[in-house]
Symmetry: C3
Subunit: 478 residues, 3 copies
């Protein structure tokens, strides 16, 4: 399967076999770093950073230079100053007509997909808001693979800000895809979003165990965890373990502890007010003194602030600077493959733990738009040409997932196109939770985000709207 | 005629034959884009952008990289932060001692000329305030030439902000130079400046037809035009046409419609307050539905905001993304020629429609300075070494044109150096409009911008000052 | 002595022989500028500018490109925006793992040393706050050498802001090292710091003559000098000269006049309030009309503002634009040597005028920290891993010099570790000026910056604290 001329927007754009092949090429790059400068001679990469991120940018640019290519850079560009009101699509078309490959970082979630859709050249997502950062994930996986030889069956603990770290979201799916078990150790208030957990169980086939009282668990099992994802590949005793066994399993050893920095720049004003670090331990030698951490890789995507003690830098378990250094060969391999200057043989065996589900699309123009304020699809400059588009990922409750930012949400009201076409008298809308609503076939579904929108489109409430007379939909509690 | 070691400050720096030769080289670059990387190997280009313009900068930098050269970049540099009070001349000398060629964008009009005067290496003007942007014009002309095979005799409509778009001013003169007819369709309030129209008739030999009531004309002739420039090469019926024939001529087909964005960043506070787009049509499929637009190229220098509908992107008449893409080969050709790594044969035939007029210079130090607040010659850091210098482009009324920013203005008072030298009793100044004033020979002219300045230089009012007793010069109305 | 893999933090990192060898290589680079592009092919340089300095950055980047290498750039990066609270050490480790060599400019004094300590690749200090700017000094020395064939015995006048110009501090030590005499002509209020003068006499073996009433001296000796440094190599009459002979000596000719710009960005609020230029002459033709200036090189590190008249640009004595241009070959030579792609033969003869003194170190953790507010060692992000460290450069009065920013200061209180270990009753602290204090051996010294700190560490005042009952240490007046 050739990678040439493809793009990398989310980690799911690469199969497990492709990732493994890319890692082999990264090994080759790493061993002969100074012999690659003929590969991309004459090629030009655009490095477009609409958010400050010197580290990632320099890593990509170094990679291109090591391959002998050239780089044009737009860094720290304010959204408005670059564009003077220009759309991302226009920018992508123009820059795509100049260069051979585009690397894009943008604060809007889904922006990298839009660039990919319009640029006409390979595009690499270097981070789109809180959505994904797939090359960081490749570096993370590559590091685990190098240090532990495999990813399958490992116990990987994720620590800190599991809510806003885009790095974390990409990584979670990638670990699941490769059959790792995941231990969630969030800073209180920065738990992993529900939609991520839901996608894990739906699309990656594993199970989530949740722990209501993390504090008790902390003391017993070494880590302040609040949930564990068990991959379907786990050894029987882990997959089947009742609560009482976690302790045993974890004490047998944590393979990696992936620490993250609070992404304060994405905090809500309420979150900013809280002093998170006061409530949550710093990762230091003391925390890692238990036997369970004897062979634990200590990882961090960097930059760190205070969450990871400097005293660990000299500790043999620390791999975070190696992780950063490996960004160059991994990105060299990726660029070389997407530009088609290198070919890899992708193993025929598909050992992916992902279940590819063909969710029905939802594209109707009845006013539903993505509720994520950072989604590219709802920005003023983009709505001129982007139509909202979703996947219907669940019917109970009815859940749409935006194809741009991948946020999921549960709209309140529905109707059926089958029922009303040509017969306005039957234009009725229903509560999305009513059993009636669930019978509508996906291709006939009309979805409204509010009763007002439904009525603005000349629909009248059916008696299935009154299922919840308070007007408030009952929240699904977990 | 060799182009090596020359600079491009205004489009007039290149003859028609040179431009045609450059276009042939651009064709060659375009066809073999990936085979040019040996041409500028070892050469270094400085890309100095004192105003944000990612698009133009990236186009130039891509061009240099495609030629195998290197680039040093200073982008989005505040005027003060780069210079700490340094003059443009000092900066030009220093950077000119580092590199082989300089590309400069600067907010001050005439800045590129100053860089050229001091750098000692070839300089390309990438936009100096509202003055000129000659490489954009080259891309525009190249696109018209590629699509229509010729420029001579075409009917080109210019649409939108014809006041502040430096792109437009460069383009107008270039079109005239190549013998095109120009249809002016300004957003009301953003008409093309008088001095541009005046230069057209004086130096390019064509005629201007003005239309006082654009609204009526709009309805009749499809476009909200307010003036037409008829090139001397026009077919008889166009050159001679009375008003009634415009309709016929335009209905026969507009060759290109060049749309521009309101340059809001240059608006006066009064202009900012107006909602321009509400008063002026958007260019969309509906506007272009008439038969006259059947083969019209729709052009735009990009970025666009709302003035050009997205629905036209897929329309075969749209050439704006091609225009942008062609910036790279055109700039490659230009850089290669100025660096002398490529030679072209320039056709001996001079088919220029420009009349080269040797206007008398005016350099005396009697207090006249350019009234354009954005002119480089009056900025505090530059007055230490720059002396104001003008061309006397007209005597009736007396009109000076700044050699830096090319703004024209009409000073009020004059004297003669012939009359007073050694005889202070005869040091008299006159109204510039008096018939006496007109008799002073250019080499004897002394010009004052106010009566106060004249008197500060010990001149006394002659009775020719009292021609307009109110003290206000009668404005020439057009 | 190989220069490969070494770093350049201060000018003292290179011996005189190494500097001479580097200059020979710079000559070679300069003569065959376009034949060096194979030297650094495949190498990558990081250009990290945490303060705006387009000129220096472009000079370094041009140098690397001329050598055929690649550059990744982070310019005008706010300290916080790059780092999100990250330490300089972390940044250095990460970038050091990407590239082959790092050029760093940073507002914190000593920052370049920290980068060098952690990067693992050669580092070049491109200016760290007011501390040093050694490559500027190399360009300055190279220019003097080219124009005057030697540096030894020359009379070099330093003019203007001798307080804040880091360029000046590097240059003073370099001139002393090469045996030049230095004439200090400071703008009143911007005199050279005491610690610089002190280091000159202590470590470079020359003598300082001070003049209390510069105004009188100005009139008599042409220049508004306030001190002269006489190198030990000076001809007898200069080294021995009583005041009356200065006039004679200077009238015989000043070899170079090095003019500097007031570094207003480093002024204290009080200094900002003063209009310095009103009180101090501008360097212009009139000032240089005396015979003593007939062969004087007029130098300036640029950018200039008003301190050096434009009329001198065309004067044959002016060398400031040559100085700037020479930055490229000098930096090419330096980069090539540190990367080990070029070797030079360093003359065995050591003609250095520097006395290398092995000052005893002071590293104890008793609360003494560097009092310089711009020192890297006291910044919040750096104190997590940097321990204060000093050299004991004097005992009378006790003077510590910070190993990062090289600022010197005189702490007030001391104790001896020999006296109290295990015997808390004898834990006494003394005034640093007491004769008792002076007897403590360097390896036993404990130093406190205040009595409170001493007492917080359970030390009691000895009767040697009461030497100065007012509690104020007597200031050493000069």
């Amino acid at each position: 399967m050739a990678l040439a001329n493809r793009s990398l927007v989310t980690i799911d754009d690469l199969s497990n076999g492709e990732i493994e092949a890319l890692f082999s090429l990264a090994d080759e790059m790493s061993e002969k770093m100074n012999e690659q400068s003929g590969l991309c001679s004459g090629k030009v990469m655009a490095s477009l950073f609409f958010e400050p991120s010197t580290r990632t940018r320099l890593s990509f640019e170094t990679a291109m230079h090591r391959l002998g290519g050239s780089v044009i850079t737009a860094s720290d560009v304010g959204i408005t100053s670059l564009a003077k009101g220009e759309s991302i699509a226009d920018m992508a078309k123009v820059v795509g007509s100049y260069v051979d490959i585009i690397v894009i970082r943008h604060p809007w979630e889904g922006a990298a997909k839009v660039v990919t859709d319009y640029a006409g050249v390979p595009v690499i997502n270097a981070g789109d808001g809180g959505h994904q950062h797939p090359t960081q994930t490749l570096c993370d996986l590559y590091t685990i693979k190098k240090e532990k030889q495999t990813i399958k069956g490992l116990k990987i603990a994720l620590w800190g800000d599991l809510k806003y770290g885009r790095t974390i979201h990409s990584l979670i799916f990638a670990l699941a895809k490769f059959g790792a078990n995941i231990i969630f150790c969030p800073t209180p208030g920065l738990e992993v979003p529900e939609h991520v957990l839901e996608k894990l169980t739906t699309e990656y086939g594993g199970e989530i165990e949740r722990y209501e009282t993390p504090d008790t668990v902390v003391k017993e099992v070494l880590l302040p965890l609040d949930a564990i994802y068990m991959t379907p590949s786990s050894p029987h005793q882990l997959a089947m373990m009742p609560n009482v066994n976690i302790k045993v399993e974890l004490k047998a050893g944590v393979d990696a502890l992936y620490v993250t920095r609070p992404q304060k720049e994405r905090f809500t004003p309420a979150e900013e007010g809280q002093e998170l670090k006061k409530r949550f331990p710093v990762v230091d030698k003391k925390l890692l003194k238990s036997k369970a951490f004897r062979k634990t890789l200590v990882m961090h995507p960097l930059p760190r602030v205070d969450e990871l003690a400097v005293e660990l830098d000299a500790d043999p378990r620390s791999t975070y600077f190696k992780q950063a250094a490996r960004g160059v060969p991994v990105r060299m391999a990726l660029i070389a493959l997407l530009l088609g200057v290198k070919e890899v043989v992708v193993s025929g065996e598909d050992d992916s733990f992902i279940r590819r589900i063909d969710y029905p699309p939802y594209r109707r123009d009845f006013g539903v738009k993505c509720p994520n304020p950072r989604c590219v699809s709802i920005q003023e400059t983009e709505t001129k040409y982007l139509k909202p588009e979703f996947k219907i990922v669940n019917r109970e409750p009815l859940t749409l997932r935006c194809i741009y930012c991948e946020h999921g949400f549960e709209p309140k009201y529905v109707a059926s196109s089958d029922w009303h076409e040509g017969r306005t008298a039957t234009k009725k809308y229903h509560s999305a939770e009513s059993h009636w609503a669930k019978k509508i076939r996906p291709e006939n579904l009309i979805i409204f985000d509010s009763a007002d929108t439904a009525e603005a489109h000349s629909f009248k409430p059916s008696h299935y709207v009154r299922v919840h007379p308070s007007g408030k939909k009952k929240m699904r509690k977990k």
